[in-house]
Amino acid sequence: MFYLQQIINGIAQGSIYALTAVGYAIILGIVNVPSFVHGDVMMVGAFVGYYSVLLFPDNILLVFIIVFAANWFLGIIVDMVCYKRFRNSPRQVMLICTVGLSIFLKSSTQVTFGTQQKLIPNLLGNNFFALGEIIRITYVQIFIVSVVIFTVFLLQILLFRTKIGLSVRAVSMHKSASALVGINVNQAMEFGTCLGCALGGIAGILLGIYYNAVHPLMGGNAAMKAFISVIFGGINIPGAALGGLLLGIFENMGVAFFGSGYRDIVGYVILIVVLLIKPSGLLGRKENEIKI
């Protein structure tokens, strides 16, 4: 029974990881460089969400739209600062630019909003469904899982039913070939980065709602989890989603077996083992590997 409860908690947490990982996978597929700014993108999303919850406490949909739009603009900045000029430079230049931007965002948030954590007002109360005697599914968990499923559904429509989605997918497969068939590669890359950042922002505010708090350093760990999920599942959208869910479940099982100090080790051990055994990930295909 106890383990079943852990699995349910794992699914709730894993679905947040999955949403972050999907955004991360889009960016990773496009620029081929791990982005270390993603955690701070999530953090900015959570802060925007926090202040818009205070402004519009009864309209949660509006909050999500505001977060999405704000992080879309942040995505434009990220693309401008970290990626646009360095598309043909050595790989480590982009990587170090994301590190620099991450340090900048983190510390400027600390300076502006203070280092303490801010409590998000509890929108859904502490209600839960009780199954049997021990198992509890809180409304927050149900809310989070449904938001994630809905967002991924919309994303699926965007990527597979629209023209810009098609060009994003084409660019992440092969840049020069998609330029040859008349796709505006620069625009598609910018669009993909913005989309990834906006999804990251939504995941950030969900993380804030799940833990009831936002603070400037919340992103780093979550982004590493997203990164691990992408590597675990494979650099494509179903892979990233599956990787995130499984990582959430494994972590909570790890906590149940070994204690809470070992929560993060589970993730990193998975990262190393997957990279050593099957670097393309669970659902990844050989051609989707990051080109060296």
Binding site: P34, S89, C97, G100, L105
Partner: protein, 332 residues
């Protein structure tokens, strides 16, 4: 004509020796001239990061691998020194090479055998994972490392019976380490081993076709680089007298990487300039305490936008241009 050339060469070489000598004398006299303890501490900090950045540059710049997890080996060195000195009372001077060897062995076991099969970014991700795993093990293995409490009260090192406790004394030790390290790196890079590393960096297949044992030389490269990270960790442990796992997070690894790349990866002078620039900038803004990290981030971004190859890339290209112009003029 040849006599003239000889004279010119002598002049240029003499000049660079003169500059080097002048620099060394300034560095030696530095603690006597400067009263402020704060400035000496800042310079010690810069020197520690020069050791870390230069050793990371051996992996990233000369070995052709891409490591992010240097902080993990720094951590191994620091904890080796702290545990051995507080529990068994070992001396600083023995621990200095020993922690280096310990860090080297850890990199040998963790990175060398399993991870060297991977290339490029995959290798980078594994180093990142191992760096974090090392930190988390340190944080959770409470019987050995006291976990989140850290290890306080590391004894003062002694020098012929006299305790070393002032900043200027530590300054001379770390200056000695830096000079020794730069000298050894210089010698190794100009030897068969260094040339083998560079050939592997340029083209692995071609290097192995020419008879370079790629795997062995990569292992040597990793061991050599992480050895110096361990030495820096040992010095840090004795200098700070308190260590905890918080000092060795991923952000620390990223800062070292930033210093290497901002300075100029793959050049000898780059990882010396990188820490000097970034740390001096942040220390200038220390007065407004919280803003220093903002300055750190912005400085990285500005340098990358102006010089994607790092600061050292300006000088190198200029020198080559000048050389080319000189040779053209001589031909005429």
């Amino acid at each position: 004509m040849s006599k003239f050339k000889y004279l010119k060469n002598l002049l240029i070489r003499g000049k660079s020796h003169l500059i080097l000598g002048f620099l060394l004398v300034t560095l030696l006299l530095f603690p006597l001239l400067v009263e402020s303890q704060f400035i000496i501490r800042v310079v010690i900090n810069i020197l520690i990061y020069i050791v870390l950045a230069s050793s990371m540059n051996i992996i990233n710049g000369y070995g052709g691998m891409f490591s992010i997890g240097h902080a993990g080996f720094y951590c191994v060195g620091a904890y080796t020194a702290a545990i051995m000195s507080t529990r068994f009372g070992w001396s600083f001077w023995i621990l200095l090479p020993l922690s280096g060897v310990m860090a080297g062995i850890v990199s040998f076991l963790l990175l060398g055998f399993p991870a060297l099969r991977l290339r490029g970014l995959y290798f980078a991700m594994v180093t990142l994972g191992f760096s974090e795993v090392i930190r988390l093990i340190v944080l959770n293995w409470i019987t050995l490392t006291r976990g989140p409490m850290g290890i306080p009260g590391i004894p003062f090192p002694t020098f012929f019976g006299n305790p070393i406790m002032y900043n200027w004394q530590f300054y001379y030790i770390i200056l000695g380490i830096v000079v020794l390290m730069l000298f050894i790196i210089r010698r190794v890079l100009n030897s068969r081993i260094g040339r083998a590393w560079i050939s592997i960096r340029e083209d692995e297949t071609a290097a192995s076709a020419m008879g370079v044992e790629v795997f062995r030389y990569k292992l040597m490269n990793l061991f050599f680089a992480t050895f110096w990270a361990g030495v820096a960790g040992c010095f840090y442990a004795f200098y700070a007298r308190y260590i905890s796992a918080d000092s060795f997070t991923l952000d620390e690894g990223f800062s070292i990487l930033a210093m290497v790349i901002v300075g100029g990866q793959g050049s000898f002078i780059g990882p010396i300039l990188g820490p000097i620039l970034l740390l001096t900038l942040t220390e200038i803004f220390r007065g407004i305490a919280q803003y220093r990290l903002i300055v750190f981030g912005v400085a990285i971004l500005i340098v990358m936008h102006l010089r994607p190859g790092g600061i050292a890339s300006i000088k190198l290209s200029n020198i080559q241009e000048i050389k080319q112009k000189l040779s053209v003029r001589q031909d005429k």
